[in-house]
């Protein structure tokens, strides 16, 4: 038995595998909620719509964190079970997106109305009493809570040896705390109008690099019972790639094509996101440009002209170019870490593909 006896796992096959688990869980939870009340159906409709999209990056890092270091006898025995555990991370991500859209007041997600807007509209159309936006926020908070609960439910229900799950659970716990902490720091930096590069990088580290890449890899590696050396290699790869991933996302949040991002053009400017790219712009802008940026960041009625102005400042100050350099450096560090990591050749190849998938210009 060797790695090549496993099903080939390109990104399409992987996404299909995760979707099968997601669909099965959503079918089960649809039944659980229907047993309580038919009025709960809109909650599941909203989760199912949201979870039909997405790149499945966190499950992919978890799966490959396992497959790249697992012992040969475990590879075929546990392949399906690790896919099931990894799919749990997609529910955690659904919670993060649903709650994030409430906090940012976003209208859209993956090209669809954000969950809180769906429930706001339901309230409006039904001509219910009270304020529709408040109802929308309440429903979305609860929907995110359900997804947060289902995430560990799915992860821990995977038919893996109990000692494997016990090794992974403390990492899972740390990951959730880091995610929520990173999200809070993100809110705080927006509110404080932060222009500090260091503080912007702390947000990136917890909200993205650890949550999206390092901890999912560690979870998979813990399921496999990996060595400390492998864990440390995954940290180096994960933190470097995770920063590059978030910086690419930041660039797309201002310069991206709405068709690709599923968000309106310049949405990060409208939300006042205090990204690393924005910090770099402040560091190099004239006082007049700084004043303009401060006016545009978080402007609720930001128009196309405003987006163009913000793009111009981010370009002319060199912030965009510097961000691209940081992305290249992160990618390069991730490759270095990967080349020296104690992983199978199949795993090295898949993790190299994931470097490209998580940092390419079009999403």
């Amino acid at each position: 038995m060797n790695a090549f006896a496993l099903p080939p796992m390109d990104s399409a096959a992987f996404r299909a595998g995760i979707q099968r688990v997601v669909d099965r869980v959503n079918t089960e939870e649809t039944r659980n909620l229907a047993f309580i009340s038919p009025d709960l159906a809109p909650l599941m409709d909203s989760v199912i719509a949201l979870m039909s999209g997405g790149k499945r990056l966190r499950p992919a890092f978890c799966y490959w964190g396992w497959r790249a270091v697992a012992l040969e006898p475990d590879l075929i025995a546990h392949h399906e079970a690790v896919l099931e555990a990894a799919a749990g991370l997609e529910f955690l991500q659904s919670c993060a997106l649903i709650h994030d859209d409430v906090m940012d007041g976003s209208d859209t997600r993956r090209g669809l109305p954000a969950a809180h807007r769906v429930f706001e509209k339901m309230h409006d159309q039904s001509q219910w009493v009270g304020q529709a936006p408040i109802f929308g926020i309440g429903a979305a908070i609860l929907l995110g809570d359900l997804c947060l609960a289902w995430a560990d439910q799915v992860f821990l229900a995977a038919p893996l040896p109990i000692e494997a799950l016990q090794r992974a659970k403390p990492i899972y716990d740390l990951m959730r705390t880091e995610l929520m902490a990173g999200q809070y720091l993100d809110l705080l930096e927006q509110a404080r109008s932060n222009t500090s590069l260091e503080r912007a990088r702390t947000v990136v580290r917890y909200k993205s690099a650890k949550y999206t890449i390092e901890r999912p890899l560690h979870l998979g590696a813990a399921l496999a019972g990996a060595s400390d050396v492998a864990m440390q290699a995954f940290s180096r790869y994960g933190l470097a790639l995770g920063e590059a991933f978030q910086l690419r996302d930041d660039v797309l949040g201002v310069f991206g094509d709405p068709q690709e991002t599923g968000k309106p053009a310049g949405d990060d400017i409208r939300e006042g996101k205090r990204t690393v790219m924005v910090s770099l712009a402040y560091a190099h802008a004239t006082p007049a440009e700084q004043a303009t940026m401060t006016e545009l960041l978080g402007k609720p009625d930001l128009d196309e002209h405003d987006v163009a102005t913000a793009r111009e400042i981010l370009s002319s100050t060199g912030a965009l170019a510097q961000t691209e350099v940081l992305i290249e450096q992160g990618i390069s560090s991730a490759y270095d870490a990967l080349n020296n990591a104690p992983v199978s050749e199949e795993g090295r190849s898949a993790l190299a593909d994931l470097i490209e998938a998580s940092t390419r210009r079009a999403t």
Copy 2:
């Protein structure tokens, strides 16, 4: 070894035991968050303040669900560990309260400012950019998410045999789903201006009876490896007592002393809560009284005179008296179930005390 060799466990000793675990977890998480950033300190301050109060009912039902049916050799061996698991439920309750206060727009909780108001005030006083209420809501969503995550973290980290925790986890999962579903139905009935008694009772069943009493008992019983007969007895006791508990809470929410409830007088009327008592009032009110109730329920600037009017209608229609009868019936059914339950005499006595503690007139 018998039950009497265990530490005596009156409600003060129990609360002190839970508080020790809560304090230890909060100290650990304070350290975890401080490692990420000193800016996270206000999150922990808020959790610690909230968790200094409360009746610890859910941990108590979990603990006694275990102690009432556990085998003798397990009683002393696992007593401390079951206290630790039970304390996890207090973190789940913290999540429910923090998110509930956001959804209801409540100003106070346990006599202190609600979490979202604490962060709103921090934003105001710091003169940060953006809207203070939005920042408050965002911070409270994340704080509730942290508590939801810490709840299963604490429950599953209890040093119990792994097979005991594996028996309990599916019940824990079901409980979370039922809680969030019940909360959503509660929001929905407020929005739909529900006057149906049946729908009000469905909300009570999931939001309160199952979440507060039946499932915590089942969790404890599952930790002990209890029989199906014991599980069914706990369902009968828990659902009957749970309804009585919520109906008492509904009466206090309109007629209670703010000093006792930690909430302003008539807060449930201001929030437009569609309780069983309110449904009973609609069923017996004149059209003029119905119109008045509809006007008062959810009125944001409800004053003392309005509260007095609502109280008068709830009294004169007999809704208050009928609610008291339903409470007595629930208590009586809970005693019947308890008398026939296959539990230790010590457990029967403690569960009888909990009937009183969870339904008495002053909280």
